[in-house]
Amino acid sequence: MLRDMMPLFDLYQPDTLDNALDLADRLGPEGWLVAGGQDSWDWLKNRTRRTRAVVDLSGIAELKGVRETDGGIQIGALTTLTDVQDDPLVRERYGLLATAAGRVASPQIRNAGTLGGNLCQDTRCWYYRGGVDCYRAGGNMCYADTPEGQNREHAVFGASRCVAVTPSDTANALTALDASMVIRSKGGERVVPAARFFVGPDVNIQRMTVIEPGEILTAVRIPGTWAKSAFYFEKVADRAAWDFALLSLSVALKMEGETIRDARLVCGAAACVPWRLEAAESAIIGKTRNDDDIERAAVAAVEGAQPLNFNGFKIPLLSNLVRRAIKGAGGAST
């Protein structure tokens, strides 16, 4: 396989959003939108997927940068992960996102990879990425969830025929922060809450977000609701860098003295979408961070989990993460 050679395609490099939207509209499903390219180039170089045309969005200046909005912030979809990690406004108000962005892959990839790309990237199920005709690839089978399937990285929640998980570290942080995604098309703009932006296989087995052909994710809006809360982010992976999560957990706690007034616990790499641990949230809201309630939350967090043959370790791991996160939120994030 010619892994180092880019295949032939028509390359479009719009420098304004309007031009990009024109192209996206004209090319439809035949136009492959690329931001930082950290996911796309793999697909194309491996010849697992082919496209007639690539629309390189990286030259659109208006989609880059962080700006303050009414009570919150708006981050352009083409802002690099390094810029998200280093931005003073993000660090001051939404340390959770800064930490999550800083745990993506490696410094080189964070320099090229964008926030929008990290959110829209495809799953890393190796059967799917390897080009087999699984459900997600339009076929009629899941090769990961079989008696012999290698599914150590796969889902323990929300599987429906396909057991792939979201690989995004920033997705669960943004879901915890009640962020919204701004999606533009020739027809206008729609703003979708993070909780509805990501799509599980039960709803659409071939896509991971609600973005349709002809649409472009242009920005992420984070309201002030969770600004400066007590945050915690932890990513567990086989390697400390340049690896996808086996599990990650984003936690935001609104504290009133010693009492937890509100809580968000959102898990990554446990389902195809960022998985909110609502039962665990309920177990700690209105409580102090005492051991009994933390234990209840740790147990509640894994209710309904359905392990596959090789990923049972995710269940005690998630419980442990929840314990650590609730105790550690507001301190130094891991």
């Binding site: 009629n140 008696p147 599987a159 025929r161 599980g200 039960d202 709803v203």
Partner: protein, 196 residues
Amino acid sequence: MASDNQKIIRHAGIDRAFHWVMAAIMLVLLATSLLPMLGVRFAWYGVHWVSGLLLTVIIALHVLRALFWQKPRGIMIKPSDLKAGGAGKYTLAQKLMHQAWTVAVLVAIVTGLLLLRKAGVPFLERDPYVRSMASWGIITLLHDLAALLSVFLVLVHVYFAILPEKRAYLRAMTKGFISRSDLAREHDLNRVDRGE
């Protein structure tokens, strides 16, 4: 001598219940399988396989009732059905419709139950390797063809059910009764009285 307006029982309450429950489940099955293909996105799979299992149970009960409490030969096609006005309880068209439904539903149920092994349900270990890819392809094709046949049959069934001249049958399936005069249009009342 029975009068023309005398109402006779055509479908007992339990049979009407079977019919309408089967109809509702069939519509759920068709909606959960076809709407996603038309771009209506929702979590269809769980509803689909649970409905499929429910239909299997209902059909099994229907078959048991037909075998032990009714006369199953009444639904079989006989030479006398080909004679105009010579039908027993069911006309030739009604029998053909029932046979077509039997084929569509049985194929859908058998292939659907087989597909559960591949697609996955909580109570059954998922193992697509119990069959070859070609076998899965054929099973899936048959399941889909049964679904398409069901769509066709629903359309035909509903069309005839709402035709004014067939309205008496629809009333019989809702209220249970039909008048002898309505029956006499297409049925041989002697055969009906003999329970054929």
